[in-house]
Symmetry: C5
Subunit: 353 residues, 5 copies
C-alpha cells in the first residue's frame, strides 16, 4: 500500500503554490508522449523536450501524456504554455490529492486515482493521474510509466468507434472511463481474495489469516478513500456549465457516473463482508478453543478421579482391610469401569462426545 | 449466490458501448415471445426470428419478451428497430447493472433485478430484467427462461382486471409489480430461515450454524444491494415528466413505491436481526465453554487435593507414625469426605452446581 | 411477536388491488359499531348489516368502527358507499402496511399500528388500524376486537372536553392520539423489563437471560419499524392542504407529532441501552469464566507440585537414602508447607485471592 | 437517574390537554417567587398566593418562578391570567417533555432540562424547566426547589452587567444560559469519572467497574437525549420572527447556540470514549485470563510429566530391574531435572516466562 | 492530551461576556509582536505595552501577535481599540471554543486549533488561536509562545511569494494555511505510530500495547473534534459576503478547504484503521490463549491417563496377579508407548501439533 501521507515534512512552510515534487525522486527522465488526431489524421510520438509539443497545430486534438512528475521544469513549461495556476501545478506534483475537478475557465483541472492490483506484493496500488482539459487538448500527468490507457490509444490508432471524430472532452471521458473500468478488475480480484480467505479460515483459522484480513481491510479502506470523491467529480462535470464539456460527451459522463456508483456500492459491500469474515475468524477461533477445552475436560474428568482411587490403595497403612481381600483388586477394576462408563454417558448427554 | 462481479476481464478496454455479452455462454437459442393486445384483442406467440415482431400493427400494445441475451444479433436488431442508444444495449448485455431508469425521450430504459429463492441450493438468486418502454410497446430482456410474469400473462389472456384496457406504461408497471411482489416471497423465506437458525443455535451451537449465518448475511447484503436503488427508480418514474408514463398509471406507481419501501425496511430489519443472531451464537459458544470449564474445575479441584492426600500416605518413609496407627486409614477417609463436602458446599455457594 | 411478513404466498400473482384478506381466517362475524354525534346529540349502536350505517343523517359526525376485516363483503360495501379506490381496500385487508397517509381528495386514508403489551406471552403485539377520514365521517378498521379507544368513546358519551363540538378530523386526531398515548405504556413496560434484566444478569448471568435479551431486542426492532414512519404521517397531515383537516385540529396534530418524536427517541434510547445490556451480559460471562479459571489454577498449581513431591518418595527404589532417615517424613511436610505458603503469597500478590 | 418514562398509566385516556400532575406528589406547598425590575428598580419577594403576582405593574420586567408543580390550581391560575393553551399547561405538568419551543403569538413556551450532578448518589439528575416568555414577563416552572439561577438573581439584585436595562427576552436568555453553563460542569464531572475509571480498570479490572461503566453509559445516553433537541430550540429562537425576541438578544442567543453545540459534541466524544473504555475493560479481562491460563499451563506441563515418572517407579511389579540398581534413584533425579530445564527453555522461547 | 473541559467551575455564574482567563495562570508576561508591511516596507518588533501597536499607520498591513492570554488587560485594550464585542473577548480567553467564524461587520472573528505532536510525552497537543481580521490588520492570540507561523514570518521578511503585495485577508489565509499544513505533519506521525503498533502487536501482544491503542484512539477523537468544524469555518469564509475577504484571497481559501477535507478524511480513515488494530489485538490475544490451552491439553491428555496406569500398579493389594508376572513391567511400558503414540496421531489429525 502506498503510504497515505508523505512528503509533508519536506514541504511544510513553503509558499502556498510552491512547485516541489514530494514523491520518491527517480533517476530516469520522465517520458513525454504526444498524440495528435482528428477524423482523418493520427500522429503519435515520444518527444525529448516538452517544448516540441507546443507547435500550434490547428483542427486536431492534442494529447500530451507525461509519465513521471519528478522533473519540475517540465510541469513549469506546460504551466507557462497553458496558463496553469500555481496551485494547480502544486497539486499535480503533490500526489496525495483527493479526486476533484476545478474549473479555471480556460481549462478544467481533474485529479483521479488510477488503481491496479499488484499480484506479486498482493497489494492494491494507487497512482495519481492529473488531467488538464482545454478547448482542443488534454494533458495527462502520471507518477510513473504504465497505465490503463492502452485500449484508448489503440482505438485512436485504428480509428475504431467514435473517438477520432469527437472532441477533447470525449478524450478526457475515454481516459476517465478506462480508469473506472479498471476499478472493476481490482474489485473482481478483491472478491476472489475474500472468497479464498473464507474457504481457508473455516477449515483452519491460523493467525496469518488474521493479518491478511486486517491487511485487506486496510487496502479496501484506502481504495474507498480514492473512489468515494469520484462520484462528486463526475457529477459536477455532468452538471458543469463549462463550454469545454461538449453536449455530445454528457451522455457518456452519465454512464461513467453509473459505473462509479456501482464501484462505490461494491466497495461498501466488501467492507460489510470483510467485517463478517473477521467475525467468522473470531468465532472459528472460539469454536476451536471450545473443542480443545472439551478434549482436556473429558480426559481430565475421567482419569483424575480414577487416579485418586488408585492412589487410595497405594497408601501404605498397615491396617487397610481391603488390601487383604482376594476380591479387592477386581473390585477396584469394577469401580473404575463403572466410573468411566457413567462419565461417558454424562458426556454423551451433554453432547460433548 | 451469483458472483457480484464478472466478465470484466473479458470486456475491459473495449469501446464504450461495445455490445458484448459477458455472462455464461449458453448453447440453446434465446426464446422470443410476442404478445399483442388491446381491449378487444389478444394474440400470443413464440417467434423464431425477432424480425417477425416488427409488423407495425396499430392500436395494440406489443410486448416482446426475450429469454436469454447471449445472442447479440437479436439485441442489435431490436436496437435498430427501436433506435436504442449503444450504451443501452451494452447495459442490457452486461447484467451486473444496478436498478436504474434512463429517459431517452422516445423510450424509457428500466433495469430491475428479479429475485427468487432457490430451495435446492438454499440461495437467493438474482436475474437482471431490462425493460424498454415505448409509446405502445414494452420489450423485456431476461437472462434465462423462467420469470414471475405468469400471472400478468394470465390476466392478459383472460382479460381479468383493467390491464387489457390500459396502455403500455401500465404493462410495464404490472411487470415491475410482479417482480416486487416476489421480493416479499423471498423475504418470507429469509424470515423462516432466520427463525430456524435461532431455534437450532440455542439448542446446540455447532460451527456449521456459523457458516450458515455468514452465508445468509452475505445473501441479504447482495439482496439489499439489488433492491435499495429501486426506491429511486420508482420515485423518479413517479415524478418523471415523460409522456410515456400515462397519468392513469401514476397511482399504481405510488403503490409500488410503497411496497419497495417496505421491502427495503424489512431487509434492514433482517440485517439487524441476523447481527443479533450472530451475537447469540457467540454468546452460546461462551456459555458452553463456561459450562465445560466449570465441569473441569469442579472435578479437578475436588480430586487433585484428595490425590495429594493419598500420595502422602503412599510415601515409603520408614519412619511415618500415622501408618502404624489402626485408625490411620479411617482417619484419611474422614479427611477425604470432609474435604469433598466442603468443596461441594463452596461450589453450591458459587452457584456452579 | 406477530410475524413480519405473511400471506404473500396466498396473494402473489393476483390483480393489483385485489381485495383478499390475508390474515388468519376467523369464524365469528366482524363487529360493526356505529356512533353518531354532534354538540347536542349522541347515538351509539352495534349494527348487524353494514348498510344500516348509511342513512344519510345530516349535521352529525359518523364514526363506523369495524372490528375484524376477514369478511371482505363488508369492506366492499363501505368501499362502494364512500368511493374508495381498490388499492385502498387492498391495503385495509393486507395488514402488513407501514403507517402512511394517502390523500384521495374526497377522503384521507390513514394507516397506523396499534401496539400493546401482552403480559401473558411477554410480547409486544401489533394490530393494523386503518382510518378513512371524510368530510363528516370516520371509518376505522381493526384486525380484531379490543382497542385503545374506550376513553374516546367515554368522552363522546359524556360530552366531556371539546370533542362533541369538533368535526370529524378532530375525531380522527383523538383516535390517533389514543393510539400514540398507548405507545408510552408499552415503552414503560419495556423500560421495566430492561431494568429487571439488568438486575438479574449482574447477579447471575444464565443463558435464558441471553435469549430474553435477544427476544426483547427483536421486539424493539419491530416496534420501531411500526412507529418510525408515523413521524412522516403526522407531519404530512400537519402540512397537508386537504380541506378535510380543519384548522382547529392543526394545533392538536402538532402535539401528537411531539409525542411521536418522543416515542421514537425513547425507542432509539432503549436500543442503545439493550446493546449495552448485551455487552454487560457478555462481560459477566467473561468475569465468571475468569473466576472459574482462577479457582482451578490456584488449586492445581498448589497441589500438582505437592503431589509430585509425594510421588517422589512413593518410588520403590531400593537405594533411596532419604527413606531411611528419621527426619525424612517431617522434612517432606516442611517442604510441602513452604511450597504452599509461597504459592499463597504469590497468588495474593497477583490479587487472585 | 430519573426514570425515563413515568406517569403514563395514571394519565392514559384523559382528555388531551388534561391538567394532571404526573410526578411524585409532594406534601409541601410550591414556593412562588416574584421579582420585578427595571433599570432603576428592583423588588423581590416570596408570595403566598399566586394571585399576588398579577398586579398589573407597568414599565417593569416581571419574573415569576414556581418551585414545585404538584399543585395544579397554581398552574391553572397563571394559565387563566396569561391565556395559556391547555396543551401548554399539560406539558408544564407532564415533566418528560423533550426540550422544545412553541410560538403562541402572545407568548413563547420554552421547555428545557436543567441538569446537575448528584455527588452522593453518583448520578446525573434532570429537572424540567418550563419558561413562558411574554412581552414583559417570564414565568418559570421547576419541579422542585434548587436551581442554577442564583447568579442571575444576584446580577438582578446588584444591577451588575446589562441585565437590568434589558427586556424580558434577555432575562429568558440569561436563565437558559445559566442552565447551559451548568451542562459544562456536569461534563467536567463526567470527564473526571471516566479518567478515574480508566486508571482503575487498567490496574485491576473487577466486575464492579463493569457495572459502573454500564451505569455511566446509560446516564450519558439520557443526558444526550435531554440536550440534543436543545440545538433546534435555540436555533429556532434565533431564526424566529416573534416580536417577543428583541434584536438586542439575538447575538446572545447565537453565543448560547455555540455553547449547545459544544455540549453536544462533548457528549458524543464521551460516548466514543466510554465505548473505548468498555473495550479496554474487556481486553483487560482477556489479558488477565491469559495470565491465569499461562500460570496453570506452566505448572501443569512441568509437574504432570514428572509425576508420571515418579508414578512409574512407584509401581509394585516384582520384576523391575531399575529398582535394584544403586544409581536408579539418582538417575530419576537427573531425568526430572533435565525435563524441567527443557520445559523452562521452551516457555522462555514462547515468551510465557 | 489537554483536558477537554476545564475552568468551568471557576467561571460558572458570571455575567455572560465576562472577561476572565480560565487556563493555567502563568507567571511571565505575554509576548506582543508587531509586524507592519506593504509591498515596499517591512517592520517587525517586540513591544512592551500593547498601546505601542496602535499608532494609526496608513497603507500598511498590521499584524499583532499575542503569545499568552493570561493578562486580561491586554485583551481589553485591544478590544477597546478595535471595538470588539464582550462575547468575542470572552471566547478569546476561554480556550475551549470549537473552531468558528463570526462576522461582526467591522471585523471577522476566527477561532482555530493549532495542533502539534509532542514527541516527548507522545501526545497530540492543541492550542487555541484566535484571529481578528480587520480592513488592514490581523490580531492573533495564542495560549503560549511557539507556533507554526515562522515560515509566514520568513516570507514577510524576505518578500518571497505574493504575500507582501496582498492585503490583510491574505495574511489571515496564510496563517490558517500554516496551521492546516501542520495537521498533515501530525497525521504523518499518527500514521507512523499506527504502523509501529501493528508490527509490535502481531509479534507480541502485551497489555501495554492495549493502553497505547486506547490512548491513541482518544487522541484521534480529540484531534477530530478540533478539525471537523474547520470545514464549515473555511467554507463559510469562502461563501461569505464580507468585504473584508478580498476576491484575490478566494481561490486560496478554496485550496485550504480542499486540505481541510483531506485532513478530515484521513482522520476518519485512521479511526477505522485503529478500530481494526484493536480487533487485531483482541484476536492476537485469543490466538495466544488458544496456543497456551493447546499446550496444556496435549501434555495433560497424554500424561494424566499414563499416570493412572502407573497408579494402578502402585496399589498395594495382596492379590494382584500382574505384579508377579515377569513380563508385567515391560507390558506396562508397551501400553504406555501405545497410548502416547495414539494420542500423538490424534493431535496430528486435529492439527494441534
Ligand atoms: Mg499491504
Ligand atoms: Mg497549498
Ligand atoms: Mg492544493
Ligand atoms: Mg495485501
Ligand atoms: Mg502510470
Ligand atoms: Mg466503461
Ligand atoms: Mg453502462
Ligand atoms: Mg451461498
Ligand atoms: Mg461503459
Ligand atoms: Mg444460502
Ligand atoms: Mg428469466
Ligand atoms: Mg403488488
Ligand atoms: Mg398497496
Ligand atoms: Mg417473543
Ligand atoms: Mg399492490
Ligand atoms: Mg418477549
Ligand atoms: Mg382491535
Ligand atoms: Mg396524548
Ligand atoms: Mg403535549
Ligand atoms: Mg445510576
Ligand atoms: Mg397530549
Ligand atoms: Mg452513576
Ligand atoms: Mg428546581
Ligand atoms: Mg454562558
Ligand atoms: Mg462564547
Ligand atoms: Mg495521552
Ligand atoms: Mg457565554
Ligand atoms: Mg499518547
Ligand atoms: Mg503558541
Ligand atoms: Mg497549504
Ligand atoms: Mg471472547
Amino acid at each position: 500500500m502506498k503510504k497515505l501521507l508523505s512528503g509533508y515534512s519536506k514541504k511544510a512552510g513553503l509558499v502556498p503554490g510552491s512547485i516541489v515534487h514530494v514523491g520518491d525522486r527517480k533517476a530516469e527522465r520522465p517520458k513525454i508522449t504526444l498524440i495528435k488526431y482528428n477524423r482523418d489524421r493520427f500522429e503519435e510520438k515520444v518527444v525529448e523536450k516538452v517544448e516540441d509539443c507546443f507547435d500550434g497545430d490547428q483542427d486536431v486534438v492534442t494529447w500530451i501524456n507525461i509519465d513521471g512528475i519528478h522533473q519540475v521544469d517540465i510541469i513549469e513549461k506546460i504551466g507557462a504554455e497553458y496558463g496553469l495556476h500555481p496551485l494547480v501545478m502544486e497539486d499535480i506534483l503533490h500526489t496525495d490529492q483527493r479526486p476533484k475537478v476545478e474549473d479555471y475557465e480556460s481549462y478544467l483541472f481533474i485529479v483521479l486515482k488510477m488503481v491496479w492490483y499488484d499480484d506479486i506484493e498482493n497489494d492494491i496500488r494507487l497512482e495519481q493521474v492529473s488531467l488538464i482539459l482545454g478547448e482542443d487538448f488534454v494533458v495527462s500527468f502520471q507518477e510513473a510509466e504504465g497505465d490503463t490507457f492502452s485500449a484508448v490509444r489503440e482505438r485512436l490508432r485504428t480509428g475504431k468507434g467514435r473517438i477520432r471524430s469527437m472532441d477533447a472532452s470525449y478524450l478526457a471521458y475515454a481516459l476517465m472511463d478506462s480508469i473506472v473500468d479498471n476499478y472493476f478488475l481490482v474489485l473482481e480480484q478483491v472478491s476472489e481474495i475474500i472468497e479464498a480467505l473464507e474457504d481457508r479460515l473455516i477449515e483452519n483459522p491460523v493467525s496469518e489469516t488474521l493479518e491478511e484480513i486486517h491487511d485487506l481491510k486496510k487496502e479496501i479502506i484506502y481504495f474507498r478513500k480514492s473512489v468515494w470523491p469520484l462520484r462528486d467529480v463526475i457529477s459536477s462535470l455532468e452538471r458543469s456549465d463549462s463550454p469545454l464539456i461538449k453536449d455530445t460527451t454528457l451522455v457518456y459522463l452519465k454512464d461513467i457516473y453509473d459505473h462509479t456508483i456501482r464501484v462505490v456500492e461494491s466497495i461498501e459491500t466488501y467492507r460489510d463482508i470483510i467485517t463478517g469474515v473477521m467475525d467468522l475468524y473470531l468465532s472459528s477461533i472460539s469454536n476451536r478453543m471450545n473443542e480443545v477445552m472439551k478434549t482436556l475436560t473429558i480426559i481430565a474428568t475421567i482419569f483424575i478421579p480414577l487416579t485418586f482411587v488408585t492412589g487410595l490403595y497405594g497408601m501404605n497403612f498397615e491396617y487397610m482391610p481391603e488390601l487383604k481381600y482376594e476380591w479387592g483388586y477386581p473390585a477396584v477394576w469394577i469401580v473404575i469401569l463403572l466410573m468411566s462408563a457413567s462419565m461417558f454417558v454424562y458426556f454423551r448427554k451433554k453432547k460433548w462426545l
